[in-house]
Symmetry: C2
Subunit: 299 residues, 2 copies
DNA sequence: CACACTTACGATATTCGTAAGGATT
DNA sequence: AATCCTTACGAATATCGTAAGTGTG
């Protein structure tokens, strides 16, 4: 029993005429006749009662009719569903991104993505850097956005840009007058930053330790926004990835170039190797990679 | 998208190997490869991720997997269902028969039928002769058993046997001594029979009127069993189709040949012309026609 | 180098359409 | 006579298997 035979059966059952059904199927009467005959033989009995002048369904044909309808509807629905997935008219992309990225850079990119593929849904998990890696590894999400992980993470990393830490100071601070600042100078003020499990904190400590700079943290929080507010209100200074600049400005803090040493680290897309992306995820991947934001390699 | 392609997809998805799946499908790897390729092209994207050394499902393939399973299960179920119908392993026959037939002759015939086709269900409607005709005409039932109807009924009549009316008298009646009896003699006793809309009653009146015999009904009922009991208790005599003989004996009445005139009428199967019987109904039809009971043409 | 999928190609089957046949109105 | 389905037969198409090709471990 083939799909073609069922389609033929339905067409004949609908018009109760081999000739008409043949036209609708773009098939000659004879071919249609053979097709129905084959179906009947495969099932072991007649589905139509033909009296040269009139075609009608046998009781078994009537029994098949609703079954055949459902079968074909289900069949076509499944086919459409897959086709839509492939043609990006349907589907869901699951994404994990570290909060600073999700908050600052992702929205405009998702806007572009959504206008290109209005029917694709996106699930964003804004979780800390380590959880991004974990979620990609566990296949909880197809795409992750994070700092470049250790090679031991066994994940594929596609760099988007290299983030460089900037200094954050109060807008009315004397430091805000300078164009740029170096670490020794910045660290003379009370330092405010994120709490320990945060990747930003870890990165800072690693880099500064390598340069024999001592980091004494005056205040710590686990929310970037809080850190920003604290700095804006003159309680101290901070340093954070450049991708937070916009957010810091909105919070009333001032950002400036920070050097000696330059703390920088690539940020990119994490994917699981040996696991092809869904068409939808691939589309978001492509949108990310080709986002104008990243074309300079830096912000 | 063909059924064969879906079967191929499922086989490969299950074993995650073209070679193994090919064996299970009795197909060469190359043919299977082409089949999957065709499916993928028809859907517009890859379903499997092949890395020469390992086959795995793409996200879209995983999406198709449950759909494909359901599709094939439904497909095979429908196919089985029809096949079973045709092979008489499943189905229902609807039958209407006049009560006297349903009660007296049908049970042994249905026993034969059921032992030949244990999985076929039978719905019996025991309704009066006119309703049998009506139900067949309205396609409420596929088969009817009744007296031969007028040609105007537009139904196909297949004779089973010719029923001849017999006399029914009390077992202890003097009349019970004779081997046979004629109408004038019978009618000297009070006559008990069915009420007017009944076909038995109508037949009697028609036949006797044609012979200038006057029928005066002493008692009437609408149940044959009641008539039998009344006769058995000596309240009068009756005449009824030979098919009731057995039942009358069990009620304690005595039956004997009745002549001058012989009232007889064919009994047979009613079917709707131009409407093929279901395989199950045809089987019951055949069982009825070839029942040994009717081989003599009379009871 | 062995293994597993893909591609190429010739052989086989299937399917199709034209034309002839049969039956009914 | 006209219509409609079936059957017959040659042609086009599709499918299959063998064998060669390609990439990976």
């Amino acid at each position: 029993m083939t799909a073609k035979q069922i389609r033929a059966f339905l067409a004949v059952a609908q018009s109760l005429s081999f000739a008409q059904a043949g036209e609708r199927l773009h098939l000659s009467q004879s071919a249609l006749s053979l097709t129905i005959k084959a179906l009947e033989e495969s099932l072991g009995g007649r589905l139509f009662s033909r009296t040269t002048r009139q075609v009608s369904l046998t009781p078994e044909g009537e029994a098949l009719l609703p079954l055949a309808r459902r079968l074909l509807v289900d069949w076509d629905n499944a086919e459409d569903h897959l086709r839509q997935r492939f043609s990006l008219q349907q589907g869901r992309v699951t994404l994990a991104a570290m909060p600073s990225f999700a908050c600052n850079l992702l929205p405009p990119i998702l806007k572009t993505f959504h206008s290109a593929h209005p029917r694709l849904n996106v699930t964003i998990n804004d979780v800390i850097n380590e959880q991004v890696i974990e979620m990609v590894r566990d296949r909880k999400v197809e795409l992750g956005i994070a700092f470049e992980p250790q090679p031991a993470s066994q994940l594929t990393f596609t760099a988007l840009y290299t983030d460089r830490f900037v200094a954050v100071v109060a807008a009315d601070s004397p430091l805000a007058q300078c164009d740029s600042i170096d670490w020794p100078m910045l660290l003379q003020a009370p330092f405010i930053t994120l709490q320990r499990p945060s990747t930003v904190r870890i990165l800072l400590e690693e880099h500064l330790a390598a340069c024999d700079l001592k980091l004494s943290v005056a205040v710590e929080s686990h929310q970037l926004a809080t850190v920003g507010r604290l700095v804006a209100n003159g309680l101290g200074v901070s340093a954070m990835p450049a991708l937070c600049v916009q957010q810091m400005r909105e919070l009333g803090a001032h950002c400036m170039t920070l050097s000696h040493p330059t703390v920088e680290r690539p940020i990119g897309i994490l994917t699981k190797p040996d696991h092809e992306l869904s068409a939808a995820a691939q589309a978001l991947f492509d949108t990310l990679v080709s986002a104008p934001l990243f074309s300079a390699g830096r912000l």
